[in-house]
Every structure is written in structure tokens, then in C-alpha cells.
């Protein structure tokens, strides 16, 4: 009964929010016929409601992985168990809401398939975010996985592209120890691992510099190592020139994360209750996009109406 009441309240919340948002937009559209400009504070209020409402009353959408996202998923899926994958967290908290869901989903997928993961970061802030993934995904969901055997955290190293230029030939010159000062030579995962060329796949998640693009230029392409990338939506266009030759796939923004999560959850039913922030965030993103599109239409109606009146140039 309580459950039913909760669902109903949530649905009512969604309906009221949609009526408020789109009713308001309709009113603005009618108003725009008189060529009346919209104050930017009104736009801010609409965006606030469009983002806040789906957070308070969650709206979820069905997602299916596009080819460009499936490229990364299929590569991880088809690697033989025990393959070594390096995941680099090249981002900061500002970018994290967009890209950390990708890092979490890819880590879970790789561990579930029995791959070995090396976690690292080229960003000082990435190491702390990497720890969050370990604490929220790896440790609670894969308690049977052993550190140093199934995964290892080698942390952050200063030097940007310089780090990549060295680890493509030798890990130990740049990372003599892991993040807890354990020598790499004593870590089983690194027994037969000299350089990035011994890896089966690299996944770089980020959006700034150094980030996925530098990984492609300095490591993936010269070392001929399969690469998957996850980037903030604004950076995704810059990665397309490398797809599908230098990178097997691209996860772009929240949508990329949502598509990956949906593909993973669909194929591994034991994870159907796992937290899927990408899918959750598609609600606010979708509504915000719709509001922006409506404002573009309203802006153009105002523009043409005022041109007709001889106002706009």
C-alpha cells in the first residue's frame, strides 16, 4: 500500500512538474508572438525546475547502447578472462558527475568478466575520485576480488604527457610502487607487465588535458593497444577523428554512461539493482535539453516577429 502511495506521489510530482514547465513554455511562446524578449532570469527559473523536478520525482528512460558505446562494451566483453585493463581517472570533481558513472560501470563490467584492472590517474584530483570508485563499486560489489591480484591502484603521477611517454616503455620508471608504497615488483598483477604494451586494453576517462586524447597520441596509437574512452559531452567531438581505428568506442557525457549502464544491467541480471547514476541523470538532462530547445524556438519566433516589425537586424 505504502509502495503504491509512493509511486503515485512520484507520478503526481512528475505530472505537475511537466505541466508547470511546458505550460509556462507555452505561455512564453504565445507571448513571443508579440516579439517580447524573455528575461534571462525566467530562463534560469525554467532550467532550475527542469533539473530539480526529475531529481525530486525521478523519471527514467529506456536506453539502448549506440554503436559507438557498444564498441567499448563489446571489447571488454570479448577479451578473454584474466586480460589486463588499465583504467585512468583523468578528471576532477567538476567533471565527475558526467564521467564517474562510466568509470564505475566499466570497472564493474571488467571485474565481472574476470579481467585484472590497473587504476591510475594523470590528474591530482583523479586519485581521490578513483578511491571513491574503489570504495563504492570494487570493494562492496566484488568482495571476493583480491587487491594486487585482481586489481591494483598505482595512483597519481605528476608530469602529464611525460608520464605517458615513459610508461609506454616502462611502468617501473614512473611508478616504482603502488599508491600504498608497495613495490610493483612484489605485486602479482605486475609480474609479467613491463609497459603499457603488455596491456590488453586501456580505458581513459576524462575530458581535459592530459586526458583521453593524450592517451591515444602517446600510448594507444604508438603502442598499438586497444583503447576505449569516456569523456565529458563537450569533449566528445574532439575524439571522433580517432574512432574506430585508434579508439574502439567513445562514451560521451551522461548519455554515454547511461547507455553503457543499461547494456551492462541488461546482460548481467545480478546487477539490476546496482546504482546507475548515468540512467538516473538522463531525466534531468532530457528535460533540460527539451527546455533549451523550446527556448531556441521561442528565441527564433521573437527574432522573426521583430524582423517583421523592422526591429531586429
Amino acid at each position: 500500500m505504502n509502495n503504491f502511495l509512493l509511486i503515485s506521489l512520484s507520478d503526481i510530482g512528475v505530472i505537475i512538474s511537466l505541466i508547470v514547465i511546458f505550460g509556462g513554455l507555452l505561455w512564453l511562446l504565445i507571448r513571443s508572438i508579440k516579439a517580447k524578449e524573455v528575461d534571462r532570469r525566467i530562463i534560469f527559473i525554467f532550467i532550475f525546475v527542469a533539473v530539480a523536478a526529475p531529481i525530486l520525482f525521478p523519471i527514467t528512460f529506456q536506453e539502448s547502447a549506440t554503436e559507438v558505446v557498444k564498441g567499448v562494451y563489446d571489447k571488454i566483453e570479448n577479451l578473454p578472462a584474466g586480460s589486463k585493463i588499465l583504467i585512468s581517472f583523468d578528471f576532477d570533481p567538476a567533471m565527475a558527475p558526467e564521467v564517474q558513472p562510466m568509470a564505475n560501470a566499466i570497472s564493474a563490467h571488467a571485474l565481472e568478466k574476470g579481467h585484472k584492472i590497473i587504476f591510475m590517474s594523470l590528474w591530482a584530483t583523479g586519485q581521490a575520485l578513483l578511491s571513491q570508485t574503489l570504495e563504492t563499486v570494487v570493494l562492496p560489489q566484488f568482495p571476493e576480488k583480491e587487491e594486487f591480484v585482481d586489481y591494483v591502484n598505482i595512483g597519481y603521477k605528476a608530469g602529464n604527457e611525460g608520464v605517458l611517454n615513459v610508461i609506454v616503455a616502462d611502468f617501473r620508471q614512473m611508478f616504482p610502487t603502488d599508491v600504498n608504497s608497495v613495490p610493483l615488483d612484489s605485486i602479482p598483477l605486475f609480474y609479467n607487465l613491463k609497459s603499457c604494451k603488455d596491456l590488453d586494453m586501456i580505458v581513459s576517462i576524462g575530458g581535459g588535458k592530459p586526458g583521453p586524447k593524450e592517451w591515444v597520441l602517446f600510448v594507444g596509437d604508438p603502442g598499438n593497444i586497444p583503447m576505449g574512452v569516456g569523456v565529458a559531452a563537450v569533449v566528445a567531438p574532439q575524439l571522433y577523428p580517432y574512432y574506430p581505428k585508434q579508439v574502439v568506442g567513445i562514451l560521451g557525457g551522461v548519455k554515454g554512461a547511461a547507455e553503457y549502464e543499461s547494456e551492462f544491467v541488461k546482460n548481467y541480471s545480478k546487477f539490476e539493482n546496482m546504482d546507475t547514476p548515468g540512467l538516473r541523470m538522463m531525466g534531468p538532462q532530457t528535460l533540460a535539453h527539451m527546455v533549451i530547445m523550446c527556448f531556441i524556438i521561442i528565441g527564433n519566433v521573437i527574432f522573426f516577429r521583430s524582423r517583421r516589425k523592422g526591429g531586429a537586424k
Binding site: V38, R40, I43, F44, F46, I47, V51, F61, E63, E67, V68, D92, P93, A94, M95, A96, P97, T125, A128, L130, S131, Q132, N153, G155, K157, A158, G159, N160, G162, V163, N165, V166, A169, D170, Q173, M174, V179, N180, S181, P237, Q238, Y240, P241, Y243, G253, K255, M282, Q285, T286, A288, H289, M290, I292, M293, F295, I296, G299, N300, F303, F304
Partner: protein, 225 residues
């Protein structure tokens, strides 16, 4: 000599690294130089930290406008430095990771830096909406093409794209909005991005040659001379 020595070092290192690519016995010299670079990069942290303290202490001392923010900056800097250097609250002691669970550093990161940075970035949504409303207007042919492309990409990034055009048969699936969005990214955008990349590449080659040959000397503080 103040100019000649740096110019000679730049010329020597530049030429050596170019030649090294073609001589197998010394082709790995590049990695050694990269290590030198990484060592120098670490010193940049000291320089950056020192500069931050200098600027804000001076601002505080002179009681300049908004000096209170300098106090917060210095306080935050000192706290993070103390928590990180001495691994406060860290179960593994001084040898363990600075971001270990429960350490002060990680806690401050999780509960202060993380939400603050995310909040700052999320403000972009408001400005993007306002800017889109003003900028995406069909004022001419070029602006109209940009407007249509933006519209398709925006719609293609939402499930509504497929809901609206999912009925289009598979043989014409390119006209489904998500596929149109991918086509724009994969063709129109790709051509533009490649042109930019080639341009940047040529620019880098020409700038490197100017540096190696000593034509470009602004890095020596000779700007405008």
C-alpha cells in the same frame, strides 16, 4: 651569455631528439629527457604553492578588497597540506595512500572540494540555456545550418529523439534523429575536427622549428624585441 646559453641548450636538445628518432642506439634518449621533464614538473608544485602563499599573504597584509577570501584560500591550503603531508587520520600511516578511506585528506575532498567544484560546473547549465536562447537564431544561412545541427544533436542526446522518429523503417534509419546526430558527429564534425588537428599539427612543427633555430625567443622574456 644570458641569451646564448639557453638558445644553445634549446638547439642542442631539439636537434638531438630529432636525430635520435633515426639512430636506433640512441632512440630511447627521448624517454630519459621525459624523466628529466617529470622531475622538473614536480618542482612546479613548489613554485605554484609558494606563489599562491606570496600573492595571498600580500593581499592580506595590504587589506586589499576581498581580503577575507585570501584568508579562506590560505586556511584551506594549509589544512590540505597538513592533512596530506602527515596523512592525518590515515590508518596505514605515513607510507599509505594520501586518499585512503577515512583520511582527513579524502574526507575534505569528498565533502568540501567535490560538492563545491560540481556546483560551480553545474552553473553552466543556466548560462548555456540563456546563451542558446540568444545565439541560436536563424539570422542567415550559416546560422540556420548551425541551428539545425544543434537541434538535432540536442534531440539526439535525449530518448525523445528515438521516440519521435523510431517509426522510420530500418532501411531509412539514417533519418532517425539519434542516427542523424551520430552522422553529424561522425561526418561533418569529423571533417572539421581533422582540419583543425592538421592545422594545429603544422603550427606545432613550425613553432618547434622557430624555437630550435632561435627565431622564436619570447620564452627568454624577449617579447616585443
Amino acid at each position: 651569455m644570458k641569451r646564448e646559453i639557453p638558445l644553445f641548450i634549446t638547439f642542442f636538445v631539439g636537434v638531438l631528439l630529432i636525430i635520435a628518432v633515426f639512430i636506433p642506439p640512441i632512440e630511447n634518449i627521448e624517454k630519459t629527457f621525459t624523466l628529466f621533464f617529470d622531475i622538473i614538473a614536480v618542482f612546479a608544485f613548489f613554485l605554484g604553492g609558494g606563489n599562491l602563499i606570496r600573492v595571498h599573504v600580500r593581499k592580506l597584509g595590504d587589506r586589499k578588497q576581498d581580503w577575507m577570501y585570501s584568508l579562506v584560500t590560505l586556511g584551506g591550503f594549509a589544512l590540505m597540506l597538513y592533512a596530506g603531508l602527515f596523512k592525518i587520520g590515515n590508518d596505514g600511516g605515513i607510507a599509505a595512500s594520501v586518499t585512503a578511506e577515512g583520511s582527513w585528506f579524502q574526507e575534505i575532498f569528498n565533502y568540501v572540494i567535490n560538492p563545491l567544484q560540481s556546483t560551480m560546473y553545474s552553473l553552466l547549465a543556466f548560462f548555456v540555456a540563456s546563451a542558446s536562447y540568444r545565439a541560436f537564431r536563424a539570422k542567415n544561412k550559416e546560422a540556420t545550418i548551425l541551428l539545425i545541427a544543434a537541434f538535432i544533436i540536442l534531440l539526439g542526446r535525449t530518448p525523445f529523439g528515438m521516440m519521435l522518429t523510431g517509426w522510420i523503417p530500418d532501411s531509412f534509419s539514417i533519418f532517425q534523429i539519434p542516427n542523424l546526430a551520430i552522422w553529424i558527429m561522425n561526418s561533418a564534425n569529423l571533417a572539421g575536427q581533422r582540419a583543425i588537428m592538421i592545422g594545429i599539427g603544422l603550427g606545432v612543427v613550425s613553432m618547434s622549428l622557430r624555437l630550435i633555430l632561435g627565431v622564436e625567443r619570447t620564452y627568454l622574456g624577449e617579447e616585443g624585441k
